[in-house]
Assembly symmetry: C2
Homo-oligomer: 925 residues x 2
């Protein structure tokens, strides 16, 4: 190895540089380095080496027992993708060098020629590993390096022909399906047929000779499918496998996963090539997955499963039901003890709960992987708090530890205790992911998706889930599986999604084709309703009432910490006193958006609103306004009372008027009747329909709405203003406080702002003149049209506050209608044109640029201008961080998102503080 | 006066400053100056004093015989409008001082107290005068300063009681109607009734006593209407009149006019207060309007009309039919000679044809006004060229002299000579505004507007037009009046609009109520078709075929001059070889926009396009594409042949697909039949209708269109590319040249650009591979979405050119749908929120800012990036100048707008050159 390095150094024209890169796989210094041995990296190199790779390097540094290997970096993936999907000769050469190094490190040999008699064969695993963990998303190949010759040598040197041929047939199957895309079922049914022909029920009864025959059968299947022989050159196997991993980055389920978790498509994946150790070598061999704490509750207890004489894929896929990790203490006490020591070491090193994969080969422990363990929201909070108590991390680090989106799960319903008390469960499985759910059962992902699209609540029932089921899992209220443990695919994914899951319910007999299952002798057909309790594992027949969870305990502590670091305010969007109260419970510090039009949709009110809209003269409109003002005033009083001194932003009427109008002839007839009953001049329903048709717009989103309504019908804005001001007067008369902000929507010009503001000010003055009571209020606007962002300096001069309406701003900046955009966005996400849905996560470079200009110009005009956001993005953590960086005073989101926003805002503050410290220390350094 | 100045100087703390402002109306130097005597200003002070006021000052400077007076500046108007529509005491004080000055200048006295016996009364006219000429738009009051006492004095000192009381009754009527808003008809019918009661047919038969009685009747009417006496205080009269002029700036017809001529609403108007001279004083008095050249042909001949013993309003309103100016030579030879001398002086001074108003009082000539005369397009060109020949102006000045919009008139149709030869005219009036028009007759502005809205061609027939008729005149093909001369309202306005007009057809007997006229004993009812020749004054029954005018003579010379100064290219938007040829005739230097979808609307092609759209699979789409490619290729070959080496920008399919689909059941049935006839699997029309419905969008303008179609259906973009490239190959094979630019619409992201560009490049490469013929083409994009403007740096890296699609960009920047915006924009223009329609004239501060950013970033990424504009704004002169300043390479507009764009671009170059020279001379100075 040292010799090789020296030889390489000579090639370099810059000796100093070459010496500095004390690289075991050093190549021509002018070339780019794509391949890294495990001892060349560390845990910080996640972007380059992927999470798994960086951790393998870090564990190597820590001295853990790691099967050695090397990593083809994410830059290799980019190079591959931009070079027409071919491994460059540069990368191939670096892999060659790495294999030579690995042979030296392991004393084994990769591929055997006749001259290599007596050497031990080096087999490797080839796995993907991207920056972010994507469990089960990417394909893995084990036992690579076998061919007809090598398998014989392996049998000889291990003195275990059965193991050797078992490994070989597994390899052929994995290689065939993953690298060549041959349907895995072809191999599986060949395997099942063989067992049937030979009357073998249990795999344990298969002999070495059996496996050899099976391997040969697999090679035949391969040849039949691909019209060429299975490759005997191990280098060819390796290069093809690396390419297959790179390709798998772009497969559909990887795409789906990335979209679901906002992982950019252009990150690419690294490839980990690691020397094999064999959990399936003998009965003193095994494999397991263990969490250093309970991922469901967060309790400080080692938590996991293992299977003896099996390879890792068996446990992850849930094919065999594993034993609890605690049983290992009796089975292999030394290994158990060593694992506990090292697990503790890892947790203290990474300062977080670890999810570890290990293999035992002939009684010797190897760590294959460690990473931060996925956990439920409950566990996340408990672990974060415990780690602070254990003085492993600071409160800041604790706050940063919890993904804001996870909090959602804590706010999900649980079964109503009374209803639950009456219910008798029909079965009990593993409590894999907490929460409560009732729904109709469906047996395939597709069926579940179809039903959910119709608005049904769905429970997905599967023998076991696979990455292909992601879509169905995503739309389901709950997931129930017959096979697999707490770390099976279903369990891991459901926890990540915050979806209730019960798994490993072995009593469940599923007839997928017949679309029914049998449980306790009873048949449940597709569409039958069941309930799942993911916190107990219990399954119930029929629906059970659910209740909202109570917020307390760890949640309260954690949120209090978060709030201590948070600098940006969090408000809520709420249209009723009830919403307002709920939001205060969730910690809202004000209302950022009352959609005043929502007050008109009530059954009693809507005919009055319709009358207003269909009025043909200002006089008729004034009469209709008078009919509506009482409702508005009462609603505002209710909201103001609920919010107390907290600010309440009320947006004047925004939607196009035709949204309020009847659609069918019957509805028009009814409305005509109602209007006539009120003593208005007799109206004909057809005349009403004509008037309604005249309000039709081709592009209503860019039509007669927002402040444009106030320009055309000032009396409506005046009526709304009167209702607000009279409500404020009422409160003041009753000794109550309120903090009202009147918001004018859809402004695109300062003169427009001034015009509508003057309507508001004039009407407010009238009320004050009438009552001789002075009340405070402010008048501001939404920035939701590109031109408003561009004209923010002028507009700010007329506004007390800005609120970004990023839904409309995104629509107009992209020129994509939210109502019609689904198909467009799907095609764009599928083709990797947009990194994510700009309506879900703020587009920083486009919409964000307009916001940045607006904030800058607005504050230049009026340094104390209050600025917030009330679009959907106000509840999206990434967007919230961006808003914080822009210097916004608050974000406003739906009540259930308030805790998420509070946490995201706190994290943004902490991260900013850290950046500052980092900057300072860099300056000092 | 000097004394007053001195006294004022003392007040000032800064003596030097006060001395410098040698102001006759000097007030406290700390106060703002709002009032200027005619000898305090000059012709350059148009913004402050209005066009009329500045010219009165200038004429005073030149020593012309001007009735002296003073001007309340446009700043006074702004002050008035922002002070709650009340004249400030500051302005009132300055008016007081000016009146004192005017009394001294004229030796007359304004308002007479008992102590003023023997003094001559000072009467004044009060007129509006804004920066831009707005003929007939603003209200004028004459003879102000009369009351029951003053009129007696006037009668005595003039020894003309009839004149005095005639003036008085006129004043009461004007004051009553304009200042107090009393319906003018109340006075008019009182006048008519008086004449009827006294059996008087002709006004000439009215005596002083009659007029005195009429004046008293008018005062009674005034009192009855306003419940107070007619004001006797002349100061009160004056202040109220000034306020009324300021108010008239905001009346409806002034608004309409400003909107039509793009005059900003916030300019405001100045008020001219001028001592009266009396054209109605005696038979040696008179008034007239004269142009220094023929405003219709441009010929160098004095051209105008006058009426003896009348006031100016009589001639402008067309109430009396005047005599040609030449007849004045016989009537008053001295005055005639003096006028010619001074007219020549003015033309040489202003270096332009003058439109002059004069009054003769007892044989003495007074100039009341001079201004650049409005003229026909033909006259404008001839005058510009003649003035260069006369070495009065440079070619640059000549090019700047013609309003680009006027050229439109030159391109309007004239009657086909053959058709005209057969036609017999039924009457002949005055050839007031050239052009030819056929249409249905309507008798009110409202009826004309309604008919035009239905798509009818309209001829407006009126006894005489008034500013209230502007709307109807605007929508008419031609205008016919029974009364009024060449300088009547109808004639002046029609020439300005470029609308054909015949006026003064006295034989015309109009029955407005009965909606018919009688001419030559024949009755023509509403809706009857007639034809007008505005160049001969002839009127025809029925429609006459029209032909396009030939471009030659002065036009060719003038455009050649313009092109010599022009730096920016002018292209055209054209979809067919015919359009392309027409545009080349008009001077287009390329095609900036071929809307490829227009090729699919042909009757034969549309079912094939519909088949493509309704295809449910890629395979079906590919088959349908094959059916369309031949048409496309042939069209492109035709266009390329027409354009030769000139660039041709072809935009890929842009509109939402549902625009191509049937609307009615019958159409769907027909389509199903057509599709079935072509051997496709039998389709049911209802199924087609369902599929079409699935393409429906709520906001199609922000829907699945533009490049988004290419992302979803790459085969369509590929088909279009193939057609273009095959056309280029065909041309090359035939030794012909072409310059193709493929334009991808609706881009908002660089990755999207790359994606669609790759479809184009790949298909082009296929054609090249098949034919082994290399052809050149470029690929660019439209910048029509705000995000594209913001991402221009990145997008430019993938684009050979940018073309601003300012229609869409304006829609999205404003968030206003063009399809639905009419009502919104109307309300906004009415309320003075927008200065003009942003879809007609580019919004510089919003849309323009995005364009500026785009140009800057685009050129930063790619300095040789070609940039143009193909939205409607490409034909708007103001927008064209802006595009030139932005550094655009070309503008593209409809064929008929090409000459306008050429001239506007030339003017922009010249003005820029002048700015530079000015900058240099300022630096030097």
């Amino acid at each position: 190895m040292a010799k090789k390095l020296k030889a390489d150094s000579k090639v370099s024209s810059n000796a100093a540089k070459a010496e500095k890169s004390a690289s075991a796989t050093a190549v021509d210094a002018r070339a780019h380095k794509y391949v890294y041995m495990f001892n060349e990296g560390d845990g910080s190199m996640i972007n380059l080496l992927g999470g798994k790779g960086a951790n393998l390097c870090e564990m190597t540094r820590l001295g853990l027992p790691i099967p050695q290997g090397f990593i083809v970096s994410t830059e290799g993936c980019t190079n591959y993708n931009t070079s027409g999907k071919v491994l460059s000769s540069e990368i191939k050469q670096q892999i060659d060098s790495a294999i030579v190094n690995l042979e030296k490190l392991t004393g084994k040999q990769f591929g055997l020629s006749n001259s290599d008699k007596g050497a031990v064969p080096l087999l490797v695993s080839v796995r993907s590993g991207s920056r972010a963990s994507m469990p089960g998303m990417m394909d893995t190949i084990l036992n690579l390096g076998l061919n007809d010759e090598v398998v014989e040598v392996l049998a000889a040197v291990t003195n275990n022909a059965r193991f050797a041929y078992d490994s070989y047939r597994r390899f052929i199957m994995m290689y065939g399906s993953i690298v060549e895309g041959i349907d895995k079922h072809i191999f599986e049914s060949a395997f099942d047929n063989f067992k049937a022909r030979n009357n073998i029920a249990d795999d344990a009864d298969l002999t070495a000779e059996h496996y050899k025959k099976i391997a040969n059968m697999f090679k035949e299947s391969y040849k039949y499918e691909r019209e060429r022989d299975f490759p005997t050159c191990v280098k060819e196997q390796l290069f093809n496998a690396v390419e297959a991993v790179f390709d798998s980055w772009e497969n559909e389920r990887a795409y789906t996963y990335r979209r679901m978790y906002d992982i950019p498509h252009d990150w690419g994946t690294a490839v980990n090539v690691q020397s094999m150790v064999y959990g399936n070598f003998c009965d003193k061999s095994g494999t397991g997955v263990v969490f250093s704490r309970n991922p469901s509750t967060g309790d400080k207890e080692i938590y996991g499963e293992y299977i003896m004489n099996a390879q890792g894929e068996d446990i992850v896929a849930g094919l065999k039901t594993p034993k609890p990790f605690s049983e290992l203490e009796a089975e292999l006490p030394e290994v158990y003890k060593e694992f506990l020591t090292l697990s503790d070491l890892l947790e203290r090193h990474y300062k977080d709960m670890q999810d570890m994969e290990f293999t035992i080969e002939q009684g010797k422990l190897y760590f294959l992987q460690t990473r931060s363990g996925k956990r439920t929201a409950t566990a996340a909070l408990k672990i974060a708090i415990d780690l602070v108590d254990e003085v492993l991390i600071t409160k800041q680090e604790a706050v940063l530890m919890v993904d804001p989106k996870q909090l959602d799960a804590l706010l999900h319903p649980v079964f109503d205790t009374k209803a639950l008390a009456k219910a008798q469960h029909i079965a009990k499985g593993l409590a894999a992911s907490p929460g409560a759910a009732s729904g109709k059962i469906y047996f395939t992902s597709k069926d579940a998706e179809r039903a959910a699209a119709k608005g049904e609540k769905v429970i997905l029932v599967r023998n076991e889930t696979s990455p292909d089921d992601i879509g169905g899992m995503h739309v389901s209220e709950g997931i129930l599986t017959a096979k697999g443990g707490m770390t099976s695919h279903a369990a891991v994914v459901a926890r990540g999604m915050g979806t209730c899951c019960v798994c490993g319910l072995e009593a469940l007999q599923i007839d997928e084709k017949g679309k029914r299952f049998t449980l306790g002798g009873k048949v449940y057909k597709e569409g039958a309703v069941i309930s799942l309790d993911g916190s107990t594992g219990k399954v119930y027949e029929g629906a059970i009432a659910t209740v909202k969870p109570k917020i307390s305990g760890h949640f309260a502590t954690f949120m209090e910490w978060a709030d201590n670091f948070r600098k940006m305010q969090v408000r809520t969007n709420a249209d009723t006193p009830e919403d307002a109260k709920k939001a205060i419970e969730f910690g809202a510090e004000g209302i950022g958006l009352v959609r005043s039009e929502h007050m008109f949709f009530d059954k009693e009110r809507i005919p009055k609103m319709q009358r207003l809209i269909l009025a043909e003269t200002e006089k008729e409109r004034l009469i209709a306004c008078r009919d509506l003002i009482g409702y508005q005033r009462a609603d505002y009083i209710g909201i103001f009372k609920a919010m107390g001194v907290r600010p309440v932003t009320i947006r004047l009427l925004d939607p196009p008027l035709h949204e309020f109008l009847p659609k069918t002839d019957a509805e028009f007839k009814l409305l005509a009747k109602q209007l006539n009953a009120r003593g208005r001049d007799k109206v004909d329903w057809k005349q009403l329909k004509l008037r309604a048709a005249s309000l039709h717009e081709i592009n209503p989103m860019m039509g007669h709405r927002g402040c444009r309504l106030a320009v055309s019908y000032p009396e409506i804005a005046a009526m709304q203003t009167r209702a607000i001001i009279e409500a404020l007067v009422y409160l003041k008369q009753n000794g109550l406080k309120a903090n009202a902000e009147i918001m004018i929507p859809l402004i695109n010009d300062v003169k427009e702002m001034r015009f509508v503001k003057n309507i508001v000010l004039a009407e407010a003055q009238k009320v004050l003149d009438e009552t001789s009571i002075e009340v405070d209020y402010t008048v501001g606007t939404m920035i939701e049209i590109p031109r408003a962002a561009l004209h923010s300096f002028d507009i700010a001069l007329e506004a007390d506050f800005f609120s970004f309406g990023t839904n409309d701003l995104t629509q107009l900046t992209y020129g994509i209608s939210r109502d019609d955009g689904a198909k467009i966005l799907q095609d764009y996400l599928d083709n990797n044109i947009y990194p994510n849905d700009p309506f879900a996560s703020l587009d920083k470079s486009g919409v964000g640029l307009l916001m940045e200009m607006s904030v800058k110009e607005g504050k230049r005009a009026k340094p104390d201008l209050k600025i917030g956001i009330c679009g959907e993005h106000g509840g999206d953590p990434v967007s919230i961080e961006y808003c914080y960086k822009l210097g916004l005073d608050y974000v406003s989101c739906s009540p259930y998102r308030v805790p998420i926003a509070r946490l995201a805002a706190a994290q943004a503050s902490i991260r900013e503080e850290r950046e500052k410290e980092k900057g300072l220390s860099e300056v000092r350094g």
